[in-house]
Symmetry: C2
Subunit: 369 residues, 2 copies
Amino acid sequence: MTTSSGETSSGLGQGASTGASKRATILDVAAAAGVSRQTVTRAMNAMPGIRPETRARVQEAARQLGYTPSRFAKGLVQGARTSVGLAIPDLTNPYYPAFASSVVELATQRGWHVVMDDYGHGGATGVESVQHLAPQVDAVIGYLGGAADEAQAILGRRPLVVLDQPAGSASGGITFDYDHAAQTALEHLQARGCRQLAYIDRAWAGADLGAPGSVRAGGPTPGTDPVRGVMTVRGQAFARSAAASGMALTVVVSPESAAAARQVTRRLLEDRPGTDGIVVFNDVMAAGALKALADSGRAVPADCAVIGMDGIPLGELLTPELTTLALDLREVGRAAVELLDGLLTGSLDPGGPGTELLLRHHLVLRQSA
Amino acid sequence: MTTSSGETSSGLGQGASTGASKRATILDVAAAAGVSRQTVTRAMNAMPGIRPETRARVQEAARQLGYTPSRFAKGLVQGARTSVGLAIPDLTNPYYPAFASSVVELATQRGWHVVMDDYGHGGATGVESVQHLAPQVDAVIGYLGGAADEAQAILGRRPLVVLDQPAGSASGGITFDYDHAAQTALEHLQARGCRQLAYIDRAWAGADLGAPGSVRAGGPTPGTDPVRGVMTVRGQAFARSAAASGMALTVVVSPESAAAARQVTRRLLEDRPGTDGIVVFNDVMAAGALKALADSGRAVPADCAVIGMDGIPLGELLTPELTTLALDLREVGRAAVELLDGLLTGSLDPGGPGTELLLRHHLVLRQSA
DNA sequence: CTGAAAGCGCTAACAC
DNA sequence: GTGTTAGCGCTTTCAG
C-alpha cells in the first residue's frame, strides 16, 4: 500500500470494489507531461516564466490525471489562509444563521475560511465542538454556553471569541446588556399599563418541565430558578430588574422551542389568568406564546402584551407583528470578526482592553406590545 | 504572488508585544523540554511508550510556548480528515440553515469537516463560491444555482453534489419533482373550489419588478417569464401543469423576500381581485403574501387560499398556519451526504447510476389552504 | 524559460 | 523509554 499504481489516468480502472486509488501527485503530472515539478507548479498557479504551450501540456496532463494539489503540502510551504471555527449550538433557530451569515461574509472578505460546527444536534457541548474544531482552525468564534476557560485551554494561544457568556480566560468576548434590556422591556410594559407581568425563561437542558413552577421576584435568591438549578443570565436580569423597581414578575421556564413555549404559556395563562404582559426569552419562543394567547382567545396586545428578544426577521411575519428587544445580528457578527481580527493581527491583546464588548438590545416596537 | 499576507501565525510586526513572532514548532518544544521531537509527538498525542514525568515536562513546555501542531504538517503526513465545502446562497432564508444543519450533523458523524460558504451576501455566484472553497476541500455540496459543469471542472475529480439544478457533469445531483409538486398543489386548490389561480415566482436577480407582468399559462412558451428572460424551474412546472389540466394560471414574479412578495401580492390582488388561490415560490415569500392578503382585508383561506413551498418551521408560526409543499430538509441533507459518501468511497461512480436523485414534496395541510 | 536543490513541520518506522 | 532516520507534496531559492 506504499507506492502501488498511480494510474488513475483516463478514467479506467475505477473498479467497483476498490475505491481510494492513490492520489496523483505533482510528480505524476510532471512525469506525464515530461517536465519537472517546478514547471508543473508554474503551470498550475498561473505563474509567469513558462511557455504557453508547455503550460497547456501540463494542464492537460493534470486534468487527465485528476490531479489536485494537496492543500496540506501547499499550506505547509506557504503560510496558509487563516481558517476560523464557528461553533453554533443550533442552526435551526434563525438567530444563529443570521449571526453566522454575518460572520461568514466578513470572514470571507478577509480571505478567511470558516469551518462551521453546528454542535447542538448531536447532543454535544460547546467544549466538544471546540475540541472537534481545534485541529483544523487558527481561531474560534462561538456560542459555547459556558466553559470558556476549558475551551481556551484546548486552543492554547489561538484566539477564542465567545458570545453571550463571560469571557473568563477566553481571548475576547461579547456579552449583552440584559439588565438594560430587561429594564427597557419592563418599563415599556408598565407604561402601557400592564400590571401582571411574566417572563418566560429558557429551561436548562434536562430541566423537569412537568409542573413549571413560578416565583415572585424578590422571593428566592435571584439566580435560583423556580424548578431547580439556576436561571439563565437573561432570567436573572429580569428578576433583578423587576425587584429593583418593585414590580411583581412571574417567571416560568420552557424548553427552547415555539411548541414548548406555547404549552408553557397556556399553562401560565391558566395559573395566572390576569397576566397582561409577557416577555419571552427569544423570538421563536415568543411566536409560541403568541399562539397560546390566540388559543386562549386573548387579543394581543389589548388583553396581553408580548415582547420577544432577538430581533430576527421572523418577528415581522407573525400576527400580530412582534415587538422585540432586538440585537443587530450583522453588527454582532461584525464585532466578533473585528475582535478576532485584532487578536490575530496583534493589535489587541488577549483578555486585554477592548476585548470584552457589551452590546445592547433596543426595543423595536411593532404590534404585540 | 501578489499578496504575501499569508502568515497564519500571530501577526508579524507587532510593535508592542514581546517575542513570540514566529509560531513555535515541535523543535522549539523539544529544545525547551530537552528531548527529541519524537518524544514531543508522543507526549502531545497521548501515545504510549513515554514516561509520565517526561510527558508532563513536554506538555508544560508546549503550553508555555503556546505550541500548536501545524495542521498542515500533520495532514501531510497522516492522510487527513476529509473536509467538504458547503456552498449556500443565503443563510438568511431559513430553508438553507435547515439543510445545512442536517449536512453538518451527518458530516460530523462521519468525521468530516464542513467548510461553509454563504456566498449570496457578497453578491458572488455559486461558481465563485466553489472557486473559493476548492483549495480547501475534498468535495463540495452546494446550491449553486446553475453552472454545475464549470464548478465540476474547477473541482477536477473531486466529487460535487449539486442541489436543485440539473447535475450536468457534476458527480451527483439532487433535484426536486416540481411537476409533481405543481400538480399536487393545483389539484388541491381546484378541489377546494378555487378558480382564479396565481403563482408567485421568484424573480431572477436583476429582473425589473417595476410593473410585474402576468401571463396566462398556455400563452407564451413555458420557460419565458412575463417580464423578461426565463422562469425558474418551479415556475415552468406550474405553468406546464396548469396548461396540461386546462387551468388558467396567472404568474407574477417577485424578488426573493417576504417584503417584496407582500408588495407583489398586493398588486396582484388589485389587478385580479378575483384571485382565490395562490401558490408561492417559497414559504418566506408566502408569509409576505399572507400579509398582503390580510392588508387587503381578505380572509385566508375563505377568500383566497395560499400554499407555500419548502416546509420550514416558520410556516407553523404564521397566522393562519401555512399549508405548504414540504420537503423534509433533514432528509435532503442526508441524501446529499450519503451520495457524497458513496462517491468518496467509490461505491458510486460519478455521474453513474444512483447519483441523480429526484425527491418529492408532499403537501402539508395546515390552515391556509 | 526551465531544472535542481532545500526545506516547510510533522509522524511512521526503525534503531539505540 | 527515547533518539534517529526518512519522507509526506509542495513551493521557494538559486543554477543552468
